[in-house]
């Protein structure tokens, strides 16, 4: 576990406008090494859009994002290479590939085999193939899918698909993992497993930024919580601070926190990246 508490990701005054709509409004956020940060907010608050700004899918209208002091490149694949990996709110696996292959796609940016190596089965291909296969089997095992390696992604149950997405993201060797509603659609048992999984990921030394509607999940998990409302930061503080802030309760926790989020179904319907 990393004890180094220096700043890993620094997003400064990120704003994202779509025409007249300001989806993300001057959001600043620092994530430190080994930290789990929660991102909450009602539906349409701009959480996923903020993720997309961090991962290069959207180019922020203004603001800057740096990782370890380096500005993040504007292309998703370069962001991954720099060390930021993500999962998607509406699962985006490669459905006609097996679970293992899905994870192995994650190693793409960390391997160098080119077409010539592959065609002639040169040592680099064989070496990398062996190493990444082992590595990815390890990740499958880590998320608890070791026995599903040869199952097509499309045939996995919903909870497994979410875990597979996490394994795929981990295979890119990130230093920061962005999870967009990792427990959406899971039953309480699966949610507990996911919680455990996220702690284990943190223990590997990764920082995690997680979007969730499940408040119990967020407050038991996160060192810090950021609450967005209508694109703007409402509060950035510890779980306790956020939990008891009257503005958060007003904006978001209108119903008792224990009941979980209202409108889970709507959340899944919002068109997202």
């Amino acid at each position: 576990m990393s004890t180094d508490r220096s700043v890993l990701l620094d997003a400064a005054h990120v704003t994202m406008r779509f025409g007249g709509l300001t989806a993300v409004d001057d959001v600043s956020l620092q994530i430190h090494h080994g930290e789990i940060v929660g991102l909450i907010g009602p539906n349409g608050a701009g959480k996923t859009t903020f993720f997309n700004c961090l991962t290069g899918l959207y180019k922020p209208t203004s603001g800057a994002v740096t990782l370890n002091g380096e500005p993040l490149p504007p292309q998703p694949r370069l962001v991954v290479k720099a060390g930021v990996a993500r999962t998607f709110q509406n699962i985006r696996l490669f459905h006609d590939m097996t679970a293992l292959e899905n994870v192995m796609v994650g190693t793409y940016c960390r391997t160098k085999t080119n077409a010539i190596d592959a065609i002639f089965r040169l040592p680099r291909h064989r070496q990398e193939e062996k190493v990444s296969t082992e590595l990815c089997k390890g990740w499958l095992d880590f998320v608890g899918l070791a026995d599903k390696a040869n199952t097509l992604a499309r045939n996995l149950p919903y909870g497994d698909q979410r875990r597979l997405e996490i394994a795929r993201a981990l295979a890119t060797k990130p230093s920061l993992l962005l999870l967009d509603e990792p427990t959406a659609g899971m039953n309480p048992n699966e949610t507990r497993q996911a919680e455990d999984l996220i702690f284990r990921i943190r223990d590997l030394g990764l920082a995690i930024l997680v979007i969730e509607h499940d408040m119990r999940f967020i407050f038991s998990l996160c060192d810090r919580v950021l609450c967005l409302v209508q694109g703007a930061v409402l509060i950035d503080g510890t779980g306790d601070e956020v939990q008891h802030d009257p503005r958060v309760i007003e904006a978001y926790l209108g119903s008792p926190a224990e009941d979980g989020p209202p409108g889970m179904a709507e959340a899944a319907e919002v068109p997202n990246a």
Partner: protein
């Protein structure tokens, strides 16, 4: 209806059907393969008998199920009987139509033919028998040598069937035999044999590949020196090689390329203008492998040229741009004739009389005698093409099972997710595009020499459409499927010249039917097979347990009294 009544009727029908082959079916020896003898069945009659025998055997097996112990469950007896008897009826109808058309009227059908039809129809009442339980054939575990033997046997049958089908010079014989093959495949499918076979094939990849190539290699020896069929076979191979290249672009990466034939053309024209033909404008004296590489490179450059600007935008644009590129290529080749542009290709005449290849004194234009069998000019090129297609398959398979191939399929599945997982989507798409073009270019260089002439009118849009159809029909992303698709699409038009006017109509209908009933193509992607394979292991164990308990029961039964 009552099963106790149905089964004897069906059995009698099958028996009558078998008996019918000892009677003449047709009047006049020139119809089909001479079905005029008493007690002298022709080959096509024997084919019918095979179906009838299978139907009979499966129907009769019902009475011995108790004594077969576990074997009773291996085959779907009733289903197989239904398939075989329906196949027999269909086959008999096909034969009767062929006799009527060939001889000029139903009057040419002798009683034997009608008996075959009637027997088949009676046997087909088995259709009303209850459906079998799912057979456990495909879950049978067999020693490796049995699997290998089965693969070899199937390959041998394939070789024989291909040779026989190709040797049918008339459309009627070819069609009738095709109906037989269809019925036989249908029957085997019903028994559950194919499931077992595909598992055996998956377990013995190397054996499969080696035996397939051996069979393909041996094919010229079945032709007795006749070059007509070898010319068709060479065309099939060229077409298949090109289709596999296209399969990278379409099947693996999911890019729609509607002008792919232009890359074949680019390779063919490059090889042609560099050849020693008197019409060649850039004649150079280079060994053929170098020429092939240059042809491939030229095609790949074309691929880069149109890929670079278009691959950044979404798929639909690519389809339009490639469609346009295909036409632009053809028209450019017509215009490089000395009047509208520099004289490189001789315009619409193209480059004729390309001399034969010569490898270290081995003249591809000469026939040779091997094991006392004449091997003609096209056989030489056929073997060269076999080598080329082997290399192309190797490239395809090795790329597919690598980091690159996974990146490609990821792009096909979800381009944005692939990009978000660090895959260089643009670079990989460009690689696929240029690489596919390269392979087509190499195939084109061999085609130039096989055809001895290259002209722009061989590279029209329709050819691109056929290539695409071969990929879709056979099974996107698979090698076996595309080989089958390419063979069907090239062979059928060759053999069915009779239906030339309706070719496109039939072809369109075939595509519609395929898309409705089997959108994944004849062969499904091996990734699915992998999974199938996986669950199968489980099933196999389950069945094994099942069988052992069954045996235990039997033994217990024996011990009881």
């Amino acid at each position: 209806m009552n099963e106790n009544l149905l089964r004897p009727v069906a059995i009698a029908g099958a028996g009558l059907g078998i008996a019918s082959i000892f009677l003449p079916w047709a009047y006049g020896p020139r119809i089909l393969d001479d079905m005029t003898y008493y007690f002298g069945p022709s080959f096509l009659q024997v084919c019918y008998a095979l179906l009838a025998v299978v139907a009979l055997a499966c129907l009769v097996a019902h009475f011995f199920l108790d004594r077969m112990s576990w074997f009773a469950r291996v085959i779907a007896w009733n289903d197989a009987a239904k398939a075989a008897s329906l196949g027999a009826v269909g086959y008999a109808i096909a034969v009767i139509i062929a006799i009527a058309v060939g001889g000029g009227g139903l009057i040419n059908v002798e009683p034997g033919g009608w008996l075959a039809l009637g027997g088949g129809a009676l046997a087909a009442v088995s259709w009303f028998l209850p459906a079998s339980k799912a057979p456990i054939f495909e879950r049978l575990r067999c020693p490796k040598w049995v699997q290998i033997l089965a693969i070899a046997a199937v390959m041998a049958v394939l070789l024989f069937a291909a040779a026989f089908a190709l040797n049918q010079s008339e459309a009627d014989g070819f069609l009738v035999f095709a109906v037989f093959l269809g019925a036989a495949i249908f029957t085997f499918h019903a028994t559950g044999f194919f499931g077992w076979l595909s598992l055996a094939a998956a377990n013995n990849r190397k054996v499969l590949v080696i035996s397939a190539f051996t069979v393909a290699f041996a094919f010229p020896f079945t032709q007795n020196g006749s070059d007509a069929n070898m010319s068709v076979a060479a065309q099939v191979l060229t077409f298949a090689a090109t289709a596999i290249g296209l399969n990278i672009v379409v099947g693996l990466v999911g890019l729609l390329d509607l002008g792919y034939i232009a890359f074949l053309g680019a390779g063919a024209f490059t090889a042609a203008v560099m050849s020693k033909s008197v019409f060649a404008t850039l004649s150079v004296d280079l060994p053929f492998p170098v020429v092939a590489l240059i042809s491939g490179t030229v095609a790949a450059l074309f691929g880069l040229l149109i890929g670079t600007p278009t691959l950044r935008v979404s798929g639909d644009y690519l389809a339009i741009v490639t469609l346009a590129f295909g036409e632009i290529f053809r028209i450019t080749m017509i215009n490089l004739d000395g009047t509208d542009g520099p004289n490189i290709t001789h315009g619409s005449n193209g480059v004729p009389s390309i001399p034969n290849l010569d490898f270290f004194g081995f003249d591809f234009g000469q026939s040779h005698e091997i094991f006392g069998i004449q091997i003609g000019r096209f056989s030489n090129y056929y073997w060269l093409l076999l080598l080329v297609i082997g290399l192309i398959i190797l490239v395809f398979a090795n790329l597919n099972h690598s980091r690159i191939g996974r990146g490609w399929v990821a792009i096909r599945e979800d381009e944005m997710a692939a990009e978000s997982m660090g895959v260089n989507t643009f670079g990989l798409k460009l690689l696929a595009f240029a690489g596919g073009a390269f392979l087509a270019g190499v195939a084109g260089s061999v085609k130039a020499y096989t055809d001895t002439s290259v002209s722009p009118d061989q590279y029209v849009f329709l050819e691109s459409a056929f290539l695409l159809a071969a990929v879709v029909l056979g099974g996107m992303g698979t090698i076996m499927g595309v080989l089958i698709g390419a063979t069907l699409l090239k062979l059928l038009p060759e053999k069915l010249r009779y239906f030339e006017d309706y070719r496109l109509l039939l072809f369109g209908a075939l595509m519609v039917v395929m898309m409705r009933f089997r959108p994944e193509g004849i062969i499904a992607d091996e990734r699915r097979q992998l999974e199938f394979h996986d669950t199968d292991e489980e099933l196999a164990e389950e069945v094994e347990e099942d069988l052992t308990t069954h045996h235990a029961h039997l033994n217990a039964d024996k011990e009881l009294p």
